[in-house]
Symmetry: C2
DNA sequence: CTGAATCCTGTTAGATACTG
DNA sequence: CAGTATCTAACAGGATTCAG
């Protein structure tokens, strides 16, 4: 499996490449919440209680930069910003779904209650 | 989504829990290579060219600790150690498969040749 | 309300050398 | 052949402060 480059970074396999887009602790939880609805920044923040302000803003920025979500700004006071998933972002949903199912299965095996 | 604990660490959702088992750069590539055959340490090392010695040993250790792979030591000189996937490890394969498919799709969209 | 900038910390991962 | 130990660089992530 030869290496390849994208955006000045070297990747060694499709797994690594995919995880560079949707990996990390927060990107998939965010995508999952946007799967069927548009949410404001504050709604996302409230829905993902343990995420910090910084993590949410940086992850949203990353997801927008890679085209997985869309950022809509409304010129108003106070500011209003809505986030929605793009067609490209929807392509990642099967991965998220599979991973959630696996995570729940693991939790069940360990006797952890499903949230 | 309430938090929960496992092994002294706090998790906030099934995604995070799943990724603690099979996340990171190397665990899924390793599991994928063991999906249908037993491999020696050196064979894995050769099959995943860019992984460092340290990363391979630590990741194998992690995967064994979480019961996803089995480590078989043969008392011989020179040493011979074989790794194989467990039934529990096989439960993670759908995730790996979905992620590989998504990664390849992404690569295609970016005009990157499939390895 | 949303976001940017700064500082600080713990973890991850690479290079290298050593062991049975 | 397989694994361990140490040192260090890079990065992820948290807390805090300031801004439009």
């Amino acid at each position: 499996m030869p290496e390849f480059q994208h955006d000045g970074k070297v990747y060694y396999n499709p797994i690594e490449f995919a995880l560079s887009h949707i990996g990390g602790t927060w990107k998939m939880p965010i995508l999952w919440r946007l799967r069927d609805k548009t949410l404001r920044y504050g709604e996302l923040k409230k829905d993902i209680p343990h995420i910090t302000h910084k993590m949410l803003t940086t992850q949203l920025k990353d997801l927008e930069a890679s085209g997985l979500i869309h950022r809509q700004v409304y010129a108003a006071v106070p500011p209003k910003v809505e986030y929605s998933i793009t067609e490209k972002g929807k392509e990642a949903l099967p991965v998220v779904e599979t991973l959630i199912r696996y995570g729940k299965k693991l939790m069940k095996e360990y006797g952890i209650e499903h949230p």
